[in-house]
């Protein structure tokens, strides 16, 4: 699974993207566990970061698979 990082999440990890291996399907909690295992520095941003799957915001019903492109969306500030 390709995971994209933006804004200060890039600074915190030093990465603009990371690859993780996901078996089967995961809900948001399961995905966060995988992400934090791969990059422990993401843990403190979990409460303020939204997940997007294939360019759409995830909902409580969203399930993630290895072929998805996931984005971590910190609070936005456009305009």
């Amino acid at each position: 699974m390709r995971v994209l990082l933006f804004a200060h999440l890039k600074d915190a990890t030093g990465l603009s993207a990371l690859e993780i291996k996901v078996a089967g399907t995961l809900d948001a909690d399961g995905l966060w566990n995988e992400l934090i295992t791969a990059q422990p520095g993401l843990a403190r941003f979990r409460a303020t970061t939204r997940l997007a799957r294939n360019s759409e915001y995830a909902t409580a019903q969203t399930r993630f698979t290895d072929s998805d492109e996931v984005a971590l969306i910190p609070p936005v500030s456009g305009g």
Binding site: A7, A52, S55, E56, V76, S77, G78, G79
Partner: protein, 139 residues
């Protein structure tokens, strides 16, 4: 309603006209430019750097305008958002909204800007001083 979304590093031409096909029947043309101010958090700056998750930002903006258009029917909406380095005084965002009457054009404009700042994945990445702006990569 026709929607045009443009997102990229090129300077925004805020004088672009309404497409000719929307002139007839349009009674209200609302435009808004969001400019970079010369100070950020109390310090003097020369530019802001914007970052976007472009495919999603374009998709979310289009969905937002479509949703708002059900309550505020407009004829044409163009949103242009600049990314990368935007110098002080330049537009980071420009909206053009054409509608039959001003009420729906104004409502679309204000509600879109409010939602943009909640949901569209675009970030003010950092504020640059005059020295930092001069030393930026690929000026």
């Amino acid at each position: 309603m026709q929607i045009e979304i443009q997102l990229g590093p090129q300077p925004i031409d805020t004088r672009r006209a309404l497409p000719d096909e929307f002139r007839d029947g349009t009674g209200a043309l609302a435009e808004f430019s969001g400019l970079v101010r010369g100070e950020e958090s109390g310090r003097e700056i020369a530019a802001l750097e914007y970052e976007a998750y472009s495919p999603m930002a374009e998709r979310v903006m289009r969905e937002l305008i479509t949703e708002l258009g059900r309550r505020h029917p407009c004829r044409f909406v163009r949103v242009t958002h600049r990314t990368g380095f935007v110098p002080v005084g330049a537009a980071a965002i420009h909206l053009m909204i054409a509608a039959r009457h001003r009420a729906e054009a104004f409502a679309m404009l204000t509600e879109f800007m409010d939602r943009l700042k909640q949901d569209v994945p675009i970030w003010k990445r950092r504020a640059l001083s005059r020295e930092e702006f001069k030393a930026r990569p690929n000026p």
